[in-house]
Homo-oligomer: 417 residues x 2
């Protein structure tokens, strides 16, 4: 691959091997949403570049939409064609005169939810996280439920409250009951937490009644996007038996503004952990030449201090297995469906993807540089999850970051997005 | 209210006091979706009627859309205005010449999903159903979990697999494990079931961070629609601990084609059952002058035979309480959000809303007139849920019906809807 005609440092996380997609507006035209592609410190106005280069209609049309959904719906052959066009525009000096005017400094644009979310599913696929949560939520029982190593456990979340990175998160109110209380009380959550996760963005639809097999993963999944699945542990603990998490999660789920295409993650593919239990055939990737483990390094910062470095490579279930499971009952897929990995937690302290694990249910508070400690989030706290992955020739690519600051319960409402 | 100029029998379920909304196409123009209103054996092409009567733009515009979402988004004042216009068109003889040509025999049109579903939430608000399921799923434990009388338990379902009445339901495959087996097997569900429910269709949006109080129910909910939440009990039993139902539900949820506006249900309002436990203030309707219990009579037919008559009036939690709970954490609402009551089951045998209750986990098979018996659904079975409600002057109004026939596992896929 040739180099970008823009001068980029060798360690640029948004280099020409990455090219993640997002949606932006400019201060001049705050209601005109456009598809942007991150390159260095710039965002490429992709629709304008397609126009300026007189791109083919199948490339230009999806890039000229106000959200990624038409591109998502177009399917893998178009994704390949669009990516090839973007690379050509940014590496071929002949294109430079037409394309360079379509670059905007990234600091000058506002970033929005990159696609309209269809269904949102959250999995629970880190063995370390599930073991930790099992110990904390069900003390005295086996931490992993008997089904855990037979299927990737998941549940549906609220797609209408998925918000873009930077959106403030209002502390939720709700019912919570301590084990020593007779009846629940009501008020602001006292145990507001994060979950650092990796989201997978479904592109090509599948009809009702047709499972998506393991080897069709890349035909349906367009790319990857960081997720923070904010969680009110006290609301969740009281409500979740028997039908699962509801209000403890549905107040907000934050999404990074950049969707990294699967093609950019070729060098991140890695073997998943050994399976202790033989998976049923529809989930069995043990003989696959190229299973879909991904070597992503996550980082969690709380008010600017790194508090965790969760390793995605250790996830027990891969995104291909999650997709195969989610559809094995015949559930159809729509462009814009989003599913998240579940909290990414590694085996060592300092690699957990949630505060309830990092601070062990309040028993092991985190020390911050300002001398304060944290067990759960306080009003005003800001949490940022970022990640990088191996790129070609020893480089790294970035997944950007998903950030959010906690506002007090009862803060002024947020406009619908 | 004056009578319709169409001659309707006194017991017409789709009389002028009802006027439910749906979406239809004609054989001539199978891809032109239009809003229809059921009246007698006809459907009124509402957009055409608005045009023919030179209706005000705020009435004509939402009725001329291809789905109900713009009408839903418009909010209660417009809903009132549109309903008044419809009643005038159908009762005022002066309008008859313009409006009558907009009536089509209902048997000649195809009905579609009446709105694009945003988030789909399923509650669990019949005490009899929850008690029955607790006995069957968790023998030896208290059937109601400790939270049940403190909050309306609910969870998010898959909105992308909500289908209109009449859509065949392909038997799902998946993992299931009998208690006496060591490991799960895989195959078609052997315990395919129904759940007869009442759905509530959200119209007016609410922003993130703003709970919807009990008394704002009618500002946000547009109307009511029957739901059959098909359930694979064997898949569900194996997967649902700890994060709730997933594949046991997500293969299909059927929706009736008609949304009955809340205004048509004035005569159905009734006091909900006495609360054993004092609800927290945000859920407390005990002092309300007009709580939102609804006296709807459901009927479940299996291959044409009535097998159950579930009474909605006995539901422990009302739809107003469900909405207040669903949003108390600040979760926003979007036009087209759908939430269902949970299975409607009464206290007596013959009033249960699911087969697992009616046939008590297979111990008490249902006898059908053809001499066959049922514990769960067999391939080819057809289930229809219908309902009526009190109207003015001793009349009744209909909610129509939601029907579906079971196809064998692996049947040809269904086109995306």
């Amino acid at each position: 691959m040739t180099a970008c005609w823009l001068e980029l440092p060798d360690d640029a996380l948004f280099g020409v091997h990455n090219l993640p997609y997002g949606v932006f507006t400019t201060p001049d035209e705050p209601s005109r949403r456009r598809i942007g592609v991150a390159i260095g410190d710039y965002v490429l106005d992709a629709g304008a570049a397609a126009h300026a280069t007189q791109a083919l209609r199948e490339v230009a049309a999806p890039l000229s939409a106000p959200a990624l959904n038409p591109l998502l719906a177009a399917g893998r052959p178009v994704w390949t064609q669009v990516r090839a066009a973007l690379i050509a525009w940014l590496t071929d000096a002949d294109h430079r005169p037409a394309v360079e005017p379509c670059l905007l400094p990234r600091q000058d644009v506002a970033l929005h939810l990159p696609f309209e979310v269809g269904d949102y599913v959250d999995f629970y696929s880190s063995e370390h996280h599930a073991t930790n949560l099992g110990r904390l939520f069900r003390p005295g029982s086996e931490p992993l439920t008997p089904n855990w190593k037979h299927l990737p456990i998941g549940y549906h979340g609220r797609s209408g409250t998925v918000v873009v990175s930077g959106t403030p998160v209002i502390r939720p109110r709700g019912q919570r009951k301590a084990p020593d209380q007779d009846a629940p009380g009501f008020g602001p959550s006292r145990r507001l937490d994060i979950e650092a996760e990796v989201g997978f963005v479904v592109g090509a639809a599948s009809p009702l009644g047709v499972p998506v097999p393991l080897d069709a993963f890349a035909d349906h999944v367009f790319g990857v996007c960081l997720v923070n699945d904010w969680s009110a542990r006290d609301l969740q603990a009281w409500e979740y038996v028997p039908l699962g998490p509801f209000l403890g999660k549905s107040f907000a789920t934050s999404l990074a503004p950049w969707v990294v295409p699967l093609d950019a993650l070729d060098h991140a593919r890695t073997a998943p952990p050994a399976r202790d239990v033989a998976p049923l055939p529809y989930l069995d990737d043990r003989e696959d030449a190229e299973p879909w483990g991904l070597d992503l390094d996550l980082e969690v910062r709380l008010n600017g201090t790194v508090v965790s470095r969760p390793p995605f490579a250790g996830m027990y279930w891969t995104p291909a297995q999650q997709l195969a499971h989610m559809t094995v009952n015949g559930a159809g897929l729509r462009p814009g469906d989003l599913y998240a990995s579940g909290t990414v937690s590694g085996p060592e302290h300092g690699t957990e993807g949630s505060l309830i694990e990092l601070a062990w249910n309040g028993e092991r508070p985190l020390n911050l540089p300002d001398g304060s400690t944290r067990t759960f989030l306080e009003d005003g706290d800001e949490v940022t999850v970022s990640a990088t992955a191996p790129g070609p020739h020893g480089t790294r690519i970035g997944l950007g970051e998903v950030t959010g600051r906690v506002r007090p319960a009862g803060s002024a409402p947020l406009a619908p997005h």
